[in-house]
Each structure stands twice: as C-alpha cells, then as structure tokens.
C-alpha cells in the first residue's frame, strides 16, 4: 500500500482558505436573511395592529360565526341564488370568450416570430403588462362607471383583465410553435396570412383552447367576487348576506360556489382532455 505523502495542513490551509473554511460572508448569509425576514414579519405584525388579545377575541367571534353557519340554509331565497349563480357562470363564460377573441389578433402582434420588429412589439407587450397589473375588481369598478351596475359590467371587467393575460399566453404559445410548417407554407408560395392560417394556427389552437378552458375555470372564481363591488352575480348576494349577518345563508352560498367551481372544473377538464389529449397534459 502506498503511503500518502506527508502533508502540511497548515500550509494547505494558508494556500486554499476557501476549501477549509467558507468565508464569513457566505456562512452568515443564510441566517442573516432569516433574521431579516423574521424582523420584517414582527415589524409587520406590530404595524398592522396584531395583538394576542385581538386575535383571541377575533377567533372566538369566528368560532361563534362558524357555529351560526350550521346548518347551511337558503331561507326562501333559493331561486334568487340559483339565478345569481347562473349569472355568475354566464359572466365567466362570456368574459373569457370575449377576452380570447380580442386577444388572438393582438397576440400575433406580440409574438416574436410573427412581428420581428422590436419597435412594434415592445409597446404592445408593455401595454398588455399594464392591463394585467390591474386587478379584475378594479376593472369592474371602472366598467360600472361606464355601463352601470349589473352583470354586464362584470363581463367587460373579466374580458379586459383576461385580455392582457391571454395575449401574453397566446403569444408565448405562438413563439413556441415549430418554424418548419410555416416555412413549408412559404416554400409552396403562401402569403404571410397563409403562413399564419395554415402554418401557425393549427399548431397553437389546441394549446389556446386548453388555456381558454382553464381560464373559464379560474374566472368562475373571479366572477363570484366581482359582485362584491356591484358587478352582478352571486358575489352581490354573498356580500349582502355577510353584511346583514345571515350566516346560514352565507354558508349556503359558499357551498353553492364550491359546488359550482367543482362542477366547472370537472366539465372543463373533460373537454380539455378531449381536445389536447391526455398525454399533452401529463
């Protein structure tokens, strides 16, 4: 067996300090980030008026509210709630469809492989980002000012705020499309529009359909809340019943929302699988 040559550990330590000992800065980084995060948390809790007494009082109140919620009971307003639920689903469906229809042409403008010019693409993208930065509820407030209270304002709010999201997602789908089909169309003498129609769209439509269905799901959730500011649907009923402390009706409405969301989830995932196939999802 060969013997290891004698090593002078001290000398090696002097020559490669980084191997023997991580520098203090890198060792201290983890704990100092944790301490800073914790300090900010405590500062936040203090600043936002948290106190054990308030917490305790609130939790007791919450427990009492939960007791009052059982059993869920709609009273005599069940037909009105069903109508409101229908309104909510309509808002989600129409808003998403409108957004998708508007987003399709715009997403072409924001895609790198359709519009190579950065000067046209950049402003389009930034304005889409701005639209996405504003919450659906804020859009609902704006549209209420324009078309008045009611579900129509909700449809427009969802349409506008999703328009931003869709355009971004669609343009990403278009940028991810295969160049070869497009080049094939060009090689056989197709125009730019032909390239988009026969080269790009067949590739991206299944992706887009999947995304639209997914958004219908998530918009069912958004549509339940825009009623809180007066834009129609079940949110309006929910906010009203919470304000007048009709807890049994509140819990019934929440249950209705849960059931509706689960049903839409199920339906749209079935359609999604039918369109894009199971393997594309997995």
């Amino acid at each position: 067996m060969s013997r290891q040559p004698d090593v002078n550990v001290e000398e090696l330590r002097g020559r490669y300090p980084g191997v023997f000992e991580r520098p203090l800065a890198s060792r201290a980084r983890g704990p100092s980030i944790l301490v800073a995060a914790l300090a900010l948390l405590i500062f936040g809790l203090h600043e936002l008026d948290f106190s054990p007494a308030r917490m305790w009082h609130g939790l007791r109140e919450l427990g009492w509210i939960s007791m009052m919620m059982i059993p869920p009971h709609p009273g005599s307003s069940f037909p009105a709630y069903l109508h409101a639920m229908g309104e909510t689903l309509s808002i989600a469906l129409l808003g998403t469809t409108l957004a998708a229809l508007m987003a399709l042409p715009v997403s072409l403008l924001a895609a790198r492989n359709v519009i190579p010019s950065v000067w046209l693409r950049f402003p389009v993208r930034r304005s889409l980002d701005t639209i996405r930065g504003i919450d659906t509820l804020i859009w609902a407030l704006v549209w209420i000012n324009v078309v008045g209270l009611g579900p129509f304002a909700g449809v427009l709010a969802i349409a506008v705020s999703d328009f931003g999201a869709f355009s971004k997602l669609f343009s990403e789908a278009i940028e991810g499309a295969d160049r070869k089909q497009v080049e094939g169309i060009r090689a056989s003498g197709g125009s730019a529009l032909h390239e988009i129609r026969f080269g790009l769209l067949p590739q991206v439509l299944p992706v887009i359909a999947g995304q639209v269905l997914y958004f219908i799901e998530s918009n069912t959730r958004s549509a339940t809340i825009i009623g809180i500011v007066g834009a129609g649907g079940i949110g309006l009923q929910l906010a009203e019943q919470i304000r007048v402390l009709e807890w049994q009706k509140v819990s019934f409405l929440i249950l209705m929302i849960l059931v509706a969301v689960a049903a839409i989830d199920w339906i749209s995932s079935r359609i999604r699988f039918a369109i894009i196939g199971r393997r594309a999802v997995a």
Partner: protein
Amino acid sequence: MPAAVSILPSRQLAALNEAYRAAVSRRRLRTLLAVMACVAVLFVAAIGAEVNLATFIAKIGNFVSYFDRIFTLDSGQRVWTDPGEWFWGWKKWLLLLGETLLISYVGTVVGALLAFCLNFLAAENTSPSRWVRFAVKRFMEFCRTVPDIVFALIFVIAFGLGPMAGVLAIAVHCVGALGKLYGEIVENIDMKPVEGIRSTGAGWIDCMRFAVLPQVVAGFASYTLLRFEINVRGASVMGFVGAGGIGQELVVAVRKFYYSDVSAILLMIIITVFVIDIATGWLRGRLFGREVRS
C-alpha cells in the same frame, strides 16, 4: 427533370378523392356542430348576463372619456403638466402602499409557514396516514377555492375593520394555494435519501428534516415568491371591503369621482406591481442560479 410524383390512374384517383372529401366534410360538419353548440351556450349566457349591446354602444364613449377624465386635473389641464397637484396625496398613498406590501408580506409568510407544516401531511409519499392526508387535502381545497376577498369580508366582521382581516384572509388563501404546490413538489422527490435516513432509525420528523427538506427548499422558495407577487395584487383590493391597504383610497376616489386621484393611485399600484414582479423574478433567478452552480 423527371417527374417525382407518379399520377395514379383516374379511377383510383377518383375513389381516393371521394374518400378524402368525405373525411373532410365529416370533420367540417363536426367542427360546425361544435361551433354552433358554443354559440348557443354563449347566447344563453349573454341573456343571463344581461348583455345589452345598445347600452354598450351608447356608453362605450364613456369608457374612452373616462380615461380622458382621470387624466385631467380639476383645473382642466392634463395631469402631467402639474405632477405636484396630481400626486398631492403622495405621502398618504405611499404609506398605504407600504401597508399593502406589508399585508401581502405578512400574509404570505404566515400562510407559507402553515402550508409548510401541513404539506408533508398531504403529500402521498410522506403522509403518516391516509386519513390525515384526506382531511388535510380537503381543508386546503376549501382554503383555496373560497376567494380571499370572501374570507376578508367575514374576517372584517370577526376581527374588526383594518389590515388584520386582510392579512388573515391572504394567509388562509395562501395555505390552500401553497400547500397544494408544496405537496406536489414533495411528491416528486427522490425517495432514496428518505429510506437512507429511516434505515438509521430516525423518526418521521428527522426524515422530513434531513431527507425531504434539502430536496425541496429551492422549489418552495420559488413558489413562495410567486405567491407573494400574486398576493400584492390581491392586497391592493383588500381595501374594497375595509381590510386595509391602498384599496380603500382607490374605491373612495372612484366612487366620489375624484378623477385625477384615480389615475394617480392606479399608476402607483401598477408601478408597485411591476417593481415587485421584477424584483421577485430577479430573486428567483438568483435562487435557481445558485442551485445550478452547486
């Protein structure tokens, strides 16, 4: 150049053409039926949502002029000619924006901590018992399906008006959303280190700490940052129901037609959201960058 494509005899060609037309027309018919079904559903939905094109066309001018109005000062000038007047309340608004950020930070941290404790119970490969897993999963589903603003409405009544209700609402929603994502990361880990630790006689908590945690911590951090981004948006509207933050000022400005205030507050919210997006994107890049390097 010789023709590369051989032309089939005309009878064979006719049969093939016929089959092709039949196939295409069947597909077209199916597409047409699907489109018609969609249109019918949309039509019913349009009636349900009280869509009124006449109102829309009559009022669409309002939409454009609304943006015209929110960029006009009381004096009739454009807002950017006098930024001092436009952002007259910037001190108050900045404070409220700070409060909004704090709400989303505290809400995200509290929610993430709870989700962190719960997700090991909900993941298929680490859960100690099926019943615990079932219960925890249903609880998380409930937390993320009920929108955070509905929680805020209820918490405002239980805990009183103010940012505390907003924080708790965001935290509860966060438990549901993050718990699911965390659980999915945990389900995708390599189980060999866990077996290794268990073979040394360690208990469940030691397995989680020394075998699971090192594998998942980067993914957890990334999702938490993403959630923080989403929660900043969520917290900006918490004020609509009285749960603190800048939303309160915005809703008052919109309802009372303080036009230039609306644009000023909206602009501040948008810039904040942008900055947070970019900052968390940068942080995420650094986190993943470090993972790749080591």
